[in-house]
């Protein structure tokens, strides 16, 4: 393989509003450059998980190297880094962008500039990326590129810069590649300096250990050398380095400006975390790259196997997933209602949902997940300070001096017509208004301090629905604040169900109790007896609903000799029951434990 001239490398990413065609565009680039043949092509090639393809989202960052001979006659190496696209993963996104010099900003020719587009530009500008606007889907009958160009002016970009493409029809792909070559600056960095490489993702491979994805800033990384992770201070010997074409392909060395992977018999992704700097253990660089943050879970929930026998399977599955995900934490916990399970920590709600889905699919587990919660600092009257991440463990009210909860600074970007709706939502979520600024004539940035516990209860979805999808939202941890919080107990058939209890602000306790019992009544099917559902603070009942008894459930019709039809009905009924948890004498379906997420709609 010929040595790559640093001047002929281009590192770039694609940023886009969801559905604006990012993955299809990436597919076309791979095809056009012959990185992958049409025969090997499947849709959304870079989204390797089934889950990513199904949801149309990118969860893990990916990289791919393309060879391209430009019209100037030179051969270029183009590294495309595909980034995840959700606020839960905003840190991972920022690290991926930090590995690039340029960004393709993809805008749907029919939809135009959307709120998230703007947010993406800010992220790109923050990372000093050269932005190339791409107006995609020009094949659509409703496409209006001229209008989009005008919008580009509004957001400070040169409309003449924009490339018109249809990823679906393969229009404009070559022009796009030419522009990447011309406009994205080649990587700076010095090949002769000590090694300095940025990890922008890592994943666990059962045969080779952790595979780090990195961008070399300075120096060279090669097989056999000893490298040091600057944040964790761990040292590893490199087994293999290589590039993504798009499958991993080993090579001799990876030098400044290039994107590659490394295997070094690393047992756990915790030792090679996103954002960390790889350096030469024997000749280290003096300073790590800035911006590293150790992964830290923000949201917690209990995960219990529906069938108690699956407890060990769940532990093994969590251990395996953790190898690949430094932000996932778990420790054993016991619930009176649900038996043995784990309290798991996640980056955010989407991360939690994805993990739950992977556990259910890849490990065939039937799980009950409790409503998400955060870590509370509880100061007891006897001076003891507890960190409570499970509402069930909250001490009795009379033992508590004060409770502090985590608060985040939330930034919401949205068109001004939706400001009222967003402010109303923030107020309802105990948000404290901090700032409102106009970024241009119509775009507004709202800043609120909001308790994290309110954010994890579906804040993002509610915000999106109230602003018709136009708002984007980002948050940062902003310390702990004292609050007047109480534990709301839920009793089903007169018995407290610990897994249903939640911590709420005293002023909202009555309403939450009322709504939660109402929701539970919808979720819990009729039993053979009457089932009262109560919400209580301490011993005081604040709300009550009753599920009437099921009194007749019999198939009378004969269906001739068609036995299979009857049997199907019964099997379906049994299947439904299997997914329920027997709590005392009542069968509670899995989703009832998440009912608190559904209130207030």
């Amino acid at each position: 393989m010929a040595k790559i001239n640093q001047n002929n490398i281009r590192n770039f990413c694609i940023i886009a509003h969801i559905d604006h065609g990012k993955s299809t565009l990436a597919d076309r680039l791979l095809e056009f450059t012959g990185t992958i043949s049409e025969r090997e092509m499947e849709e959304q090639l870079l989204d390797t998980m089934d889950l990513e393809r199904e949801r149309g989202i990118t969860i893990k960052a990916q990289a791919v190297r393309m060879a391209y001979q430009a019209k100037d006659g030179n051969d270029y190496t183009l590294n495309l880094i595909d980034t995840p696209g959700h606020v839960d993963f905003s840190y991972e996104v920022s690290r991926s962008l930090a590995a690039c010099e340029g960004a393709l900003l993809v805008i749907d020719a029919a939809q135009g500039v959307e709120a998230q587009t703007l947010a993406n530009i800010y992220i790109a500008l923050e990372n000093d990326l050269e932005i190339i606007p791409v107006i995609n889907k020009i094949d659509l009958p409703s496409a209006n590129p001229d209008r989009v160009k005008e919008e580009l002016i509004d957001i400070g970009l040169d409309p003449d810069d924009a490339i018109l493409t249809s990823a679906k029809e393969g229009i404009g792909i070559e022009e796009l590649l030419e522009r990447v070559v011309k406009q994205v600056p080649p990587p700076s960095g010095d090949k002769d300096k000590p090694l300095k490489a940025l990890i922008f993702d890592s994943l666990y491979d059962p045969y080779r250990g952790v595979i780090c994805y990195y961008r070399v800033i300075d120096g060279t990384i090669k097989k056999g050398m000893k490298v040091k992770m600057m944040a964790t201070k761990k040292i590893f010997e490199v087994d293999e380095v290589g590039t993504f074409r798009p499958k991993m392909k080993a090579s001799k060395e990876i030098s400044a400006g290039e994107v590659g992977y490394m295997a070094a018999s690393i047992k756990n992704v915790k030792n090679a975390q996103v954002g960390d700097t790889i350096t030469d253990a024997e000749n280290p660089t003096d300073k790590p790259l800035s911006g590293y943050q150790p992964a830290k879970p923000m949201v917690f929930c209990g995960m219990y196997p529906v069938d108690g026998k699956d407890y060990d399977v769940l532990r093994d599955a969590l251990e395996k997933l953790q190898l690949n995900d430094a932000s996932l934490t778990f420790e054993p916990e016991t619930s009176e209602a649900l038996g043995f399970g784990y309290r798991c920590g996640f980056l955010g709600l989407l991360h939690m949902e994805i993990m739950q889905e992977r556990l259910e699919r890849e490990y065939r587990l039937d799980l009950i997940t409790t409503a998400p919660s955060v870590i509370y600092n509880v100061y007891k009257t006897d001076g003891e300070v507890l960190q409570i991440e499970n509402p069930a463990n909250m001490p009795d009210a009379q033992e508590i001096d004060k409770i502090e909860e985590p608060v985040v600074e939330a930034k919401i970007l949205l068109p001004d017509e939706h400001v009222g709706a967003a402010m109303e939502l923030c107020q309802g979520k105990r948000g404290q208004f901090k700032n409102m600024e106009y970024l241009d004539e119509v775009r507004v940035r709202l800043t609120y301090d909001i308790p994290l516990s309110e954010i994890v209860l579906d804040f993002f979805d509610k915000l999106k629905s109230r602003t018709r999808g136009y708002a984007t939202f980002d948050y940062e941890f902003n310390g702990y604040q004292e609050a007047d919080l109480v534990k709301l107990n839920i009793l089903v058939n007169e018995e407290p169900v610990d897994a249903l209890s939640c911590i709420v602000h005293r002023d909202f306790a009555y309403d939450v109790g009322k709504e939660l019992t109402k929701k539970l009544k919808e979720f819990i099917p009729q039993q053979m007896f009457k089932v009262p559902i109560q919400a209580a603070i301490g011993h005081k009942i604040v709300a009550r609903q009753t599920i009437s008894a099921r009194r007749k459930d019999v198939l009378q019709k004969c269906y001739g000799g068609d036995v299979s039809r009857k049997k199907k009905l019964l099997k379906k009924q049994k299947e439904g029951k299997k997914r329920m948890k027997q709590v005392g004498s009542v069968e509670i379906p899995q989703d009832a434990f998440m009912a608190v997420l559904e209130i207030g709609d």
């Binding site: 009194r551 009378q556 000799g561």
Partner: protein, 378 residues
């Protein structure tokens, strides 16, 4: 020689009732003739395959009595020619009021049919119109008397309750009117709204309000009370009979014994597997015309299938399942398989065990789906 029940399906109707999702069509005479020819051929094919001894025959539909008397007689003649037929066999035909007269009834009687099952459904003209029936209450009564006159001494009524807007009083009137006529047997079903029926469409459009569970329950309780007070004994979830008039054919189903079938869309259980014929007339007829049995689907039963089906069907009988027969059939005690379920439901008073039999209690009957579902093994 192996014994079987035999079900014969006649998929023709004058018009489709609003609740019906059975395989039935309005059809021209020529199509009926082609179908009857196919039936006759199917009898031959079936005889070759199984050489069965037939111990009961049930001609259902659709509306079998839409056929002429001699057409019905021909089917049965062919059966007599081709199968070994048990002595004193019960032969039932479903008859819909409005499709029979004295002459047809006589011909049917002469053909060997000895049991009539009248699709009465209701004795309220208002209800009959509402559910798309073609006859009035009076016509049903007249037909019944004609049947007695020509000598039928085993007559059953089909009745439906929990109809849209039906009051408890209306149902009571239907029950009392039925009893007044003294049929030997009654089948009472609550309305189940099935996909693909006009009622289903009305339901999804909000034009039909389904009967509340509470009223449905009251109607079912009333059925049992009224019929038992008039000398009928409940022997199955939906079936009541005077002494010695339990339907032999239906008991083959409940006891999970084998039955063969003839006709489009008909289901059968040959003791090894379950299957069904093509429901589309064209496919059904074509297959037979080409000399092949018109089976669309057939699956051998696993032991588990057989176990759970024996439970699910047997517990529909009021007397329940004989533990000895169960053991004889499966070589295992019922407790070896269902100990946990039996204990649980006994404690909840949903099933009882007396002497040799395991049966649902009345409470268990009311919640039969909940109980039977747990006897499913997979």
């Amino acid at each position: 020689m192996k014994e079987f029940g035999l079900y014969i399906h006649i998929p023709f109707c004058v018009s489709k009732c609003y609740y019906c999702d059975f395989n039935s069509f309005a059809a021209k005479e020529s199509l009926k003739n082609r179908y009857l020819a196919a039936l006759s051929q199917e009898i031959k094919l079936l005889a070759e395959k199984y050489s069965p001894k037939i111990k009961s025959i049930f001609i259902g539909g659709g509306t079998p009595t839409i056929l002429k008397g001699n057409q019905i007689a021909k089917i049965l003649d062919k059966c007599y020619q081709s199968f070994a037929i048990k002595e004193d066999i019960e032969i039932t035909i479903e008859a819909n009021p409005g499709t029979v007269d004295k002459e047809k009834l006589s011909l049917i009687k002469e053909s060997g049919v000895n049991r009539l099952s009248f699709g009465i459904q209701s004795f309220s003209d208002k209800m009959l119109r509402k559910i798309g029936r073609i006859h009035t209450a009076q016509e049903a009564i007249d037909n019944y008397h004609l049947a007695r006159e020509v000598g039928f001494n085993n007559i059953s009524f089909d009745l439906i309750f929990a109809l849209p807007d039906q009051s408890l009083e209306d149902w009571q009137n239907t029950l009392l009117q039925a009893c007044k006529l003294k049929p030997n047997h009654l089948s009472t079903y609550n309305l189940k709204i099935e996909e693909g029926t006009p009622f289903y469409q009305m339901l999804s459009k909000g034009e039909l309000i389904p009967t509340s569970e509470e009223l449905d329950l009251k109607m079912y309780n009333l059925t049992k009370d009224v019929l038992e007070s008039k000398g009928y004994q409940q022997y199955e979830i939906s079936n009541f009979a005077q002494k010695d008039y339990d339907s032999e054919h239906n008991q083959i189903y409940w006891k999970n014994e084998p039955y063969l079938s003839l006709g489009a869309g008909a289901h059968f259980y040959d003791g090894v597997g379950r299957g069904y014929n093509y429901s589309a007339l064209e496919e059904y007829c074509q297959s037979i015309e080409e000399g092949r049995l018109p089976v669309e689907n057939y699956q051998s039963l696993t032991r588990e299938d057989e176990l759970e089906e024996t439970m699910m069907l047997g517990l529909r009988l009021i007397k329940g399942i004989s533990l000895k027969e169960f053991e004889k059939r499966f070589g295992l005690s019922i407790y070896d398989i269902y100990n946990e379920e039996i204990n649980k439901f006994s404690k909840q008073n949903l099933i009882t065990i007396t002497n040799d039999r395991l049966a649902l209690t009345w409470q268990g009957i009311l919640l039969a789906n909940q109980v039977l579902a747990e006897f499913m093994l997979t």
